[in-house]
């Protein structure tokens, strides 16, 4: 039998798994708050105001939280989308990996830049 080549899926699967925890535990609440409760006026008058959000992203824990959520959600979803191509019969191979994991990487770097390196 031919020698087996070690897959580097463990890297992406770990990020996918961590992102899965964020997606299942935190995402439903976040989506509801920012996407539905806020626009429908279910929250207090000050909720998610500019001042409060600025205070949030200016604090290290707040910025870290948003960074983790944005980045890991991207790694989670891009991993799935990449595999879905294979499921529907598109053999994207290395190109798929470059595009989708590349997107996750770009999103991660953008989040880091705006959360940690941009003067407020």
């Amino acid at each position: 039998m031919k020698p087996m080549k070690r897959s580097n899926e463990p890297i992406f699967w770990s990020l996918f798994g961590a992102g899965g925890v964020v997606a299942s535990l935190v995402a439903p609440a976040l989506v509801f708050i920012t996407g539905l409760a806020l626009p429908l006026g279910l929250l207090g008058p000050d909720a998610l105001s500019y001042e409060r959000m600025l205070a949030l992203v200016s604090s290290l824990p707040g910025a870290l939280f948003l960074f983790v959520v944005i980045s890991l959600l991207l790694w989670h979803t891009m991993h799935r989308i990449n595999h879905s191509l294979h499921d529907i019969g598109i053999k994207a191979g290395l190109g798929g990996k470059v595009i989708f994991y590349g997107l996750a990487l770009v999103g991660t770097m953008a989040a880091a830049y705006f959360l940690f390196a941009t003067p407020l």
Partner: protein, 130 residues
């Protein structure tokens, strides 16, 4: 190896053949919506760094019917994804043994559902306080 004239059936449209596969494809599809939400969050952060006007425009967008409609879909996708995630989670962890008895899968799934509800309530309270 064999010269037998075997017949291999095609795979096209396999996910339409069985409700279980359809549910699987729906689970994978939630990724598209959740990726979109990551984009919304990133856009919000960028708007924040641009100042009050940009942030006001971002909130304006969140209030548009288009955004609310999309977020209804994203919310449903997030809930479905969470449900499927908790349901299969016992498969990806080593068996947990407490006092010589293996914790049943439904206890593991159930406690995660409870945790999810707690997080939901806590975050809603945090965000709603003014």
């Amino acid at each position: 190896m064999s010269a037998r004239n075997t017949y291999v059936r095609p795979m096209s449209g396999w996910y339409r053949r069985n409700p279980h596969f359809l549910a699987y494809m729906l689970r994978e599809l939630t990724a598209v919506f959740l990726a979109g939400y990551a984009g919304v969050l990133l856009a919000g952060v960028i708007a924040l760094t641009r100042g009050p006007d940009a942030y006001a425009a971002f909130r304006e967008f969140l209030s548009s019917p288009l955004s609310v409609g999309l977020h209804v879909l994203i919310f449903i996708a997030a809930l479905y994804n969470a449900y499927t995630w908790f349901k299969v989670s016992p498969k990806a962890m080593p068996p947990i043994v407490l006092a010589g008895r293996r914790i049943p899968d439904r206890v593991i799934v159930g406690s995660q559902l409870v945790a999810c509800v707690l997080v939901f309530v806590a975050m809603l309270l945090l965000a709603g306080m003014s």
